[in-house]
Amino acid sequence: MPRNVSHPDEVIVLKRRFGMGAADIEKYLEQDGYKAVQLAISQGVEAMPGWIIDTMKASGLRGRGGAGFPTGMKWSFVPKQSEKPKYVLVNGDESEPGTCKDHVIFLEDPHAVIEGTMIAGLAIGAKLGFIYLRGEYRYLLKIVEKAVADAYAKGFLGKNIFGSGLDFDIVTQTGAGAYEVGEESALMESLEGKRGVPRIKPPFPAVVGLYGGPTVINNAETIASAPHILLMGGEAYSKLGSERNGGTRLFGISGHVERPGVYELPMGFSLHRAIYEVAGGVKGGKKLKAVVPGGSSCPVLTADELNVGLDFDQMGKAGTMLGSGGIVVLDETVSIVEFALRVIAFYQHESCGWCIPCREGTDWIKKTLSRVYAGGGTAKDIDNVQYLAENMMGRTFCPLGDAAAMPTLGFVKKFRKEFEDYVAGNRAGTPVMSEQELVGAGH
């Protein structure tokens, strides 16, 4: 079971009910539960949507799934009048390697997700919300299902919520194993009972989404932040973070650190401090070699590049991404060639095959890196890997192609010498895959 961790440098907003038994609706109510949705309704049905969206805009909250799109703005894009029903869709298909933050939200504070879904629904005029968890999270689905049932039993969901005259229902379900479904349009396909292949955009979900209706789709952490923001005020939340990056977010720090865990840090917090102070530094006092800062799709940072603030803009300037907040730390024993091979093996496995650059590119990069790793590579292989990755970028319907290409380019560009050493027969690092595994590279 996930362990709760804490550190004095944390700024607690989203984690305030963690470890407090808040999956129990009574405990949630004791801790300001369902007060935010009532506060919204108390603005009056006419003023409420504008009030919610203005507060969300003022909060500076940006999408916690990885893209970092301003949430208030996203909600404001949904047309006020629509012939088709509008929907709220909560993306709990957390599957970016290195990311386990939504896992703890569903476990510790499922009602915050439910309340956030209601708030998003009130903001855009939806009557139905979906909470979609990844298939592996069956035990969390049960927790969320119970929370939803308890909310219905209290009369918080269903008809005439909190005397507003408005109805709101929530449906929960899981996927069945597919990284690709974490992409918003693929998730809508999956929820419609289809293969999780992406849709072309535009139209964007805010206009044509689930069942063809205007849809707000947000990451579970984004949605769970909404009740806190309404209660504390948009400006107060914004001030916790850095410029144009409001508030706090959950960072899952994993890999070679002393104290791995999910920590809540203000946006803009130093990556170096997050690793060396919050997570206790590199495990066993070893030297740090590299950091994958926001889930496996983010270009790697070297040990010299850690003096950067953890927000969307600063990470972008540093040539990488804040992503989903999954910080993976690699110590000096890691073979970057092996690591790069494992990363591309994942994307090759998960590519849905819809777009040829992604389907073929991930496969050829994997094959080429396998050869380099096994000792049969040539200098041209390294250039070929780079060429393949560069030609995948921006040429696919959904970002999976980019997600495979970006980290590959990062590894090859920043650790080129290590790839060249492999070709020359000098294998750096301590490989962890067995012979059989490295030939297949994963499965």
């Binding site: 592996e136 069945a176 067995s434």
Partner: protein
Amino acid sequence: MAAIDQSIFSPELAARFDHLVTIYPMKRSALIPMLLYAQDEIGYVSEAAIREIAARLDLFDLEVRNVLSYYSMLRTKPAGKYNVQVCTNISCMLRGGYEILDHCKAKLGVGHKGVTPDGVFSLEEVECIGACCWAPAMQVNYDFHDELTTGKVDSILAEYKAGNGKDVK
């Protein structure tokens, strides 16, 4: 809905399916949950299950198969009673995920997607299961087990073998 005269599923699951098709704006949305729950009951998605689910959703069998083949957790052949899924993605890899996988392979005497001759265990190497901060991790059916060591894996497998595994579905 096409009438289902004789369901192949238990009365409880059949009732659940009757309900599931009513909760979505389009009943086809119930397809993936139905495939999962069918697999939980039968152990895999059988031909008969495909036919009944297709009938319940007014789909062709082919449409169900098309979706079924996309999702990695769905299978058309039986797995072991306890399906051991070891994560070897990056966070687990860095903390010994491959050691755990190799240990399970040796211990169970099967490889990736193999089933032990007694049908008790099957083994899968899986991609990130969202337990990165408690790595290395694995799932047995839907249960998470984390901060694994080879010794811990031995006692976990022994518990399942003795029939003491909790929440087998």
